[in-house]
Structure formats: structure tokens, C-alpha cells
Amino acid sequence: MRNELLALNYWPLIGIPVVVLGFAMRFNPLLVVTVAGLITGWAVGMDAVTLLETFGEKFLSSRQLASFLLILPVIALLERHGLRERAKGWIATIKSATTARILSLYFVVREASAALGLLSLGGHAQTVRPLLAPMAEAAAINAYGPLPKPIRDKIAAHAAACDNVAMFFGEDIFIAFGAVLLMDAFLKENGIAGVEPLHIGLWAIPTAIAALIIHLFRLSRLEASIRRDIALWQANDAPTQQGAEA
């Protein structure tokens, strides 16, 4: 074992500690990742021109990752005209709406639709910021009055988390989704026959159900946690005259 440890070529691994260290030292992540790429390339003896070429090629071929920039103008336009205010006002008319219920309902719909392959039905730019987060906040404001920023942030962060968890653990059930196809291709490449994409999708169901149970359980406790936070805030540093910004 000792000899094998010494014989192993560690140079290709150098990028990993660079990423971890750079992040721990709070350098800008763009810089950290670029430096990790440069050091890795240099450590394995790539020449500078090839390295630049790899950088440019990969950056250009992953441009579709920036497509959410197209959604923002529409959302910004609607927000200039009171979309978030309208979302809050609408929730105020529904007396039974609570933060936990709104988030739970969204979670179930999001996970179920993702399992059917309808991934675009949610998203942070198109649904969480303009609709879900303001509605979840408004439900808490209806119940408790104006809220301080930390509590509003907590509710908004939960709204974002709902979208992520529900989408991640729903999408793999859908057999045409990229992850399932990637696994299928990997198996075929490595000479393992007789596995259908359907099987892979099927075996995603137990984890998907576990995600549903775990996250809905956490959301069911969110309401009490918000109530506790508000009581604490009112006891300590709630402004007496001018209310917090709603």
C-alpha cells in the first residue's frame, strides 16, 4: 500500500484543494475556479495555448446556462407595476393560507410536475421571486403583522429551497430526463447490459418519496418556528412606533 501511495500521480488532483482553499479564504469564486483550472493545466503539463483553448471552448459550449437572463426583463417589468404587491394582496384575501401551507402545496405540485418531466413549471426567476416568496411572506404578514427583514429572508430562503428540493428529487423519475440518460449511457459504455432507463427511473421513486416526507415534515414545523422568531423579535427589538417594512 505504501508503494502504491507513492506511485500515484497526484498532479491532476491539485485543482480540488485549490477550489476548497480558495473558497475557504473567501476569494471571488470566479477567480478561484479559473486559478484552479490554470494550476491543474500547468501541473499536468498542458501548454498555455491549449489551456486557453479548452477554457474558451467549454465556456462557449455551456452558454445555455445563462438563459435565465431572458426571463428577468419580463419579471422586472411586472415588478415595476406591482406584481409582488399584487401577489401579497391576493394571498391576504385567502384566510386559510399560511406560509407552511403555501410552501407545502408548491412543493407537492413542483415535485409531481417534475416527475412528469415538466421542469419549466417552476424556477427561481420565473416563479419563486415574483410569486411564491411574496405569497409565503404575505401569509405570515397576515397572521403576525409587519415582519423584520431576517424573518422575511428566512421565509424567502425556504421558498427557494422548496423549488430546489422538489425539482431535484422529482426529475429523475422522468425517464427522458438527462440524468437518467447519462446513467443509461454510462452502463452501456461499461459493458453492463440488460438495464432499461425505466428501471433507473423506478428506483428513483423511494428517494423521491423520502424527500417528500422529510421536506414536508420540516415545512410543518416552519410555522411554529416563524411564530417563535416573531415572539422573540417583539420581545427584544421590535420598533414601538413605526412598524417594520412590510
Binding site: 491532476p12 477554457f55 435565465f68 426583463p73 415595476r80 419563486v128 440524468a179 420540516r218
Partner: protein, 327 residues
């Protein structure tokens, strides 16, 4: 040929970014006006001129130029030369008044984006005018999204009277507050590319195999699941971790060594990676971008909220895998 091709979508993104750059340059009170404009200008020109450069200069030279520009982008961000500017916003009173006037009609364009994207993906795939397809067959969802955003913008224009240019101008504050996080996923794809060339996967495989006891089934399952989560946290992407960890641990030790069933092993292994995605700032588009979009004071708050669910699910996955894959 397709009417809405991926190249058109890149041009559209480039155009939006170009308008933002012009507005940044005209923002005279902007504390870092020129460098912020340069940052987004470099980024936007990769969308506007990327394909043109590949076609005229050849792939090799175009990629070298693009790579140099990417390093410029990283340097500008790394030296803190990119910041927020000043924005003309409507007052809360104006917003409330407008919300009352327009009522629930305001929801329409917002709901059109997800609904039209899904409808167009499902219904318009394969629709063509003569030889020309409407949506790029390789990027249907993306083409559908671009189409949906276009329609929603027109409906929003008609509804509010504010034209698309004003809409893009309004999005500048959102784009600026997202800042570098908007570019991180592409940078990580770039790092992944270098790792592939450097054969980092083989080294990880060799390293892991030194520390694995090939007879301890539970230990192997724990190492595979945790390895997927940890490597995903570093790479920001489960798809980058999956081939490395699966070829390094799952294939030789679990499938070949212990006769594990491949389908559930892959499925649960991939999901263990997703648990890592929930816990890392490297998965910027899921964890950091929303924190900026939602104006959270703590940009790690979404991750903090997700950690309990992620850890509970990782534990669940380990036990599920252990009890399911060996039968």
C-alpha cells in the same frame, strides 16, 4: 435549419447584456462604472460574437480569444471591480396603485412564461414551415423558453404600457445583484473540461481504491454515496461527479466485486450527488442566484435552509442503497 435556433438565443442573450452595458455606461454615479461595464461587455460579446468568431477565425483561434476574455472576466470579478450601480425604480406607492389598477391581470405574463414553455416544448416540437423547423430540435426547452419570454414581454408591454427596452432596463438591478454568480456555472464547466483533459478522474479512482476495503459492503456504500455528495459539492454539478465516482467505486467494487444491482445503484448514487448540490455555493444557479434574486442579506441562507433536508436524504440514500442493491 430552425427558426429559433440555439445561435439566435445566444444572440438574444448577448443583445440583452449589450443593452445593460450601455445603461451601465450611462449611469454616471456608478461607483465602478467602467470596470462593471467591461465585465458584462466581455461576457456579452462571447454571446454576440462567439459563433461569428468560430466561423470566421476558425474554432482554434476563436476559442483561444474566448479563453483569454474569460480570464479577464475572472480578474475583474476577483479584484472587486464589479459592483451595483444606481437604478430608477418606481416608488412603493406607485407599485401599490398600479397593482390595484391592473389587478390579477398582472399575473398573466408571469404565468405565461412557465406555461408557454411547457406547452411549446410539448406541442411545437417538430412543427415546421416547409423545411424550416420552428424550434431547434436539440434545444427544444431553451427555444420554447425564449419564445415564452418573448410572448410574455409583448403581453406585459400591452398590459403596462412600458416598452421592452424599459423592461430590460428594469432588469439591470436584478442582473447586477446576481453579478458573478451568473457566470460561475460556465466557469465550472470550464474547470470540468480541464479536469477531463488532465484525467483527474483516473487519479481520484486510484486514490479512492487505496482506502477502500473491498469486502465491507456497508463501507463501500457509504464511501460511494458520500463521495458523490462531496465531489458534487466541489464541482457544483452532479453530472461531473457521477462518471468519476461511479467508475472509481461503484463499478469495480460494488457491481463487479459484490454483485450489486446496477439500476438502483446508479439511481440512488445520482441522488446522493443531488444532496451535495443542495449544500454547495458552487451550484450557483440553484443556491446563490436565488439568494441574490430574493435580496437575502446572507447569500448562503438558501444553502443553510437546505442542509438538514440534504443530510437526512443522504442518510436515507445510504440505507436505501444498502438494503436494495444486494439481493
Amino acid at each position: 435549419m430552425s427558426l429559433i435556433s440555439i445561435d439566435d438565443i445566444y444572440l438574444l442573450i448577448g443583445l440583452v447584456v449589450a443593452i445593460l452595458v450601455i445603461l451601465t455606461l450611462r449611469d454616471k454615479q456608478h461607483p465602478k462604472r467602467l470596470t462593471t461595464a467591461l465585465f458584462w461587455g466581455l461576457f456579452g460579446s462571447l454571446f454576440l460574437f462567439g459563433d461569428l468568431a468560430v466561423n470566421t477565425l476558425g474554432a482554434k483561434q476563436a476559442h483561444q480569444i474566448a479563453g483569454t476574455m474569460v480570464i479577464g472576466i475572472a480578474l475583474l470579478a476577483g479584484m472587486g471591480r464589479v459592483s451595483l450601480g444606481n437604478y430608477q425604480e418606481t416608488s412603493p406607492a406607485e407599485k401599490t396603485a398600479s397593482a390595484e389598477r391592473l389587478g390579477n391581470k398582472l399575473f398573466l405574463p408571469a404565468l405565461l412564461i412557465p406555461l408557454l414553455t411547457v406547452a411549446a416544448t410539448l406541442l411545437l416540437a417538430g412543427v415546421s414551415f416547409g423545411e424550416v423547423l420552428l424550434l431547434d430540435p436539440k434545444h427544444q426547452t431553451l427555444a420554447a423558453l425564449a419564445l415564452a419570454c418573448g410572448v410574455a414581454l409583448l403581453v406585459g408591454w400591452r398590459l403596462t404600457g412600458d416598452n421592452p427596452l424599459k423592461a430590460v432596463a428594469g432588469s439591470r438591478r436584478l442582473v447586477d445583484s446576481i453579478g458573478w454568480a451568473a457566470i460561475l456555472p460556465q466557469m465550472l464547466a470550464m474547470l470540468g473540461g480541464v479536469f477531463v483533459v488532465a484525467q483527474t478522474g483516473d487519479s481520484i479512482k486510484a486514490l479512492v481504491s487505496l482506502f477502500v476495503d473491498p469486502n465491507n459492503r456497508f463501507g463501500l456504500v457509504v464511501i460511494y454515496c458520500m463521495g458523490m455528495a462531496l465531489f458534487t459539492m466541489i464541482m457544483g454539478n452532479t453530472f461531473a461527479a457521477f462518471p468519476v465516482m461511479t467508475a472509481g467505486i461503484a463499478l469495480p467494487f460494488l457491481i463487479e466485486g459484490q454483485g450489486a444491482s446496477p439500476a438502483p445503484l446508479m439511481a440512488i448514487g445520482m441522488y446522493s450527488g443531488y444532496c451535495g448540490t443542495l449544500m454547495t455555493p458552487m451550484a450557483a444557479n440553484f443556491n446563490i442566484v436565488p439568494a441574490a434574486l430574493l435580496d437575502l442579506d446572507d447569500k448562503y441562507q438558501v444553502i443553510k435552509v437546505q442542509i438538514p433536508t440534504a443530510l437526512a436524504l443522504l442518510t436515507t440514500n445510504i440505507f436505501l442503497m444498502f438494503f436494495i442493491v444486494f439481493d
